[in-house]
């Protein structure tokens, strides 16, 4: 495997992955730290390496709007954005999912203003949780690249037809150079068939998309979207296996465990912090601490059953969130994990930690401190619901 690898920037690996998926229309507006992805893609189009319409637009709102139109005509569509750009798309994200348009977007996760901050956290995509988009989170550059054809296949499945975000941590993954296998065109052609939707905008056969729905039908549109998310839960697993059959790489389906089977303490997290957690777990295991990891790949659809099954032996669950629902003092993963365990016989405490906001670095020491607090909580002398990790005490 190593001899097929090459050291490239994360952004290049993902732009290359998008290229071999043969999108028909790309529209994006450059914004840090997504910029390198769209620069690379526009270069591919300009150099004629890909037969694709690259639409230059004046904002992210126009980018997503252009792709809604393009997707409705039956085009395979791709975009990439982050932070304020994703926030600007918010209104149209609902249109894309309500119209069942399988637009694929790589979200390069970044903090939101104010104060202005260009660094990584996951507040941007988490804040789009309820827009009806699928959201998958990648651990490293290879998974970010590999997620791209997987998510096209998922979004375009005729029983799913939902737009989808492939999320990678800004800078940490977008700007890192590391060895990856660039996705092969022939394998990708084998894995990902062409997009052939049943219903398209066609002047020869006029129909409307997203037209008026009054109280007698609107509810059923939402119900169908939810039903499609349920289908996506199964398809994510299937597609991950099919990907493994063709490319020989597998990252788990909805979730993935690490040193999980006998673990009393289970850390749950999403994105690039997974690698640092794995190294921390290796270290703590040497000190005979019974600890494991449950990596969450799919946040929407939320894999409640897979999580419940994976946590059946856990004595304590620790969630890590690079976001916060201000006013709840919790990150989204924490809230959702608690909620999915409530109506079960599993009585396992869940403690949430919020960290890595606005690019604050997450060294092994941060994870170790969190585990120490969790262990104290297990002894029940200092139980906490959720708190910020690594808060500075020298700032008034």
């Amino acid at each position: 495997m190593k001899n097929r690898m090459t050291v490239v920037e994360g952004s290049y690996a993902v732009a290359h992955a998008a290229k071999v998926c043969r999108p028909n229309v790309i529209s994006a507006y450059p914004i840090t730290p997504q910029t390198h992805i769209v620069e690379d893609l526009s270069q591919f189009v300009a150099d004629g390496e890909i037969d694709c319409e690259y639409m230059n637009v004046e904002s992210e709102f126009s980018a997503i709007s252009a792709l809604i139109g393009a997707s409705a005509t039956g085009a395979r569509t791709f975009s990439s954005t982050t932070s304020q750009g994703l926030a600007l798309m918010h209104e149209a994200l609902f249109n894309a999912s309500g119209m069942r348009l399988p637009i694929v977007m790589t979200v390069v996760n970044r903090a939101l203003s104010a104060p202005i901050n260009i660094w990584n956290d996951q507040q941007d995509s988490i804040s789009q949780r309820d827009t009806g988009w699928i959201q998958l989170y990648a651990e490293d550059v290879q998974e970010s690249a590999d997620m791209t054809p997987q998510i096209f296949k998922l979004a375009e499945d005729k029983d799913v037809l939902l737009p989808a975000m492939s999320c990678m941590d800004g800078f940490i993954l977008s700007h890192v150079y590391e060895p990856v296998i660039l996705l092969e065109q022939d394998l990708t052609d084998e894995f990902l068939p062409g997009f052939e939707p049943e219903y398209i905008l066609d002047p020869g056969n006029p129909m409307s998309f997203g037209a008026f729905a009054d109280p007698t039908t609107y509810t059923e549109f939402r119900y169908r979207q939810e039903e499609a998310m349920g289908v996506a839960l199964k398809k994510i697993e299937e597609i991950a296996s099919e990907f493994n059959d063709i490319y020989g790489r597998y990252y788990g389906g909805l979730v993935d465990g690490y040193m999980l089977d006998d673990a009393e303490i289970v850390i749950m997290a999403m994105g690039s912090v997974i690698g640092t957690i794995k190294d921390t777990i290796d270290m703590l295991r040497k000190e005979n601490i019974s600890i494991g990891l449950l990596k969450v790949r799919s946040f929407r659809p939320f894999p409640a059953d897979a999580i419940k099954a994976a946590l059946k032996n856990a004595k304590l669950v620790v969630t890590l969130d690079k976001n916060i629902s201000i006013g709840k003092n919790e990150g989204a993963l924490c809230t959702e994990v608690k909620a999915c365990l409530h109506n079960t016989k599993l009585r396992v405490p869940v403690i949430g930690f919020m960290l890595g906001h606005g690019g604050r670095d997450i060294p092994i020491g941060t994870i170790v401190n969190i585990v120490d607090k969790a262990k104290a909580a297990m002894r029940n002398d200092s139980f906490i619901e959720s708190e910020f990790a690594d808060l500075r005490e020298d700032m008034e």
């Binding site: 050291v7 150079y177 912090v273 997974i274 794995k278 190294d279 690019g359 060294p363």
Partner: protein
């Protein structure tokens, strides 16, 4: 795993140096990871870049706090940045300067090595662009990466005459600092 921290100023190619080290180490058969201390880059401002080299795939994503090696591209940074932060007794700090290692008042148990990379770069490349020269010296001082792999990485990144000149500077720096 070996960890390298590169201190430079915006425009000196610190991030490119990190990238080239990662490419060269991978060419040598190691796994590698290179990334900048992401900032709002401005020409002349202090910047930091990081490299990890390992026999196994690198999973750790944090910045580097206890480097095995430090490369300082501009000696004036020693007065503004704690370049020795977290260094180990067996570590090495490589500084681009015409001065002797003993002339620096840096609190560290790590060895300090110096090379006038600016002179080498001006003499051979014709410009005071020191990043490639310094990673040649890094190869000579540490033995972590073969100079041939660094030259190959540089030639691929900068094809043609520019790459050749840089490769020449890399070899010169490697020889000057006593690489073998």
């Amino acid at each position: 795993m070996k960890e390298i921290r590169i201190h430079g100023r915006g425009g000196q190619g610190s991030v490119t140096a990190a990238e080239l080290l990662a490419v060269a180490a991978f060419e040598d058969g190691k796994y590698s990871q290179a990334f900048p201390a992401f900032g709002v880059e401005r020409r002349g401002a202090p910047v930091t870049a990081f490299v990890r080299l390992s026999d196994k795939p690198v999973r750790l994503r944090s910045q580097i706090y206890e480097p095995d090696y430090v490369i300082v591209q501009d000696a004036t940074l020693v007065d503004v940045v704690d370049v020795a932060s977290g260094t180990k007794p067996e570590g090495i700090i490589l500084i681009n300067t015409e001065k002797n290692p003993g002339s620096f008042n840096i609190k560290t148990e790590a060895a300090i090595r110096t090379l006038d990379a600016t002179k080498v770069a001006i003499d051979i490349i014709g410009k005071p662009i020191v990043n490639t020269t310094l990673i040649g010296a890094f190869a000579g001082v540490t033995g972590e990466i073969r100079p041939e792999s660094i030259k190959k990485a540089v030639m691929e990144r900068f094809p043609g005459k520019i790459g050749e000149k840089n490769a020449e500077a890399i070899q010169a720096a490697y020889d000057l600092i006593g690489g073998k």
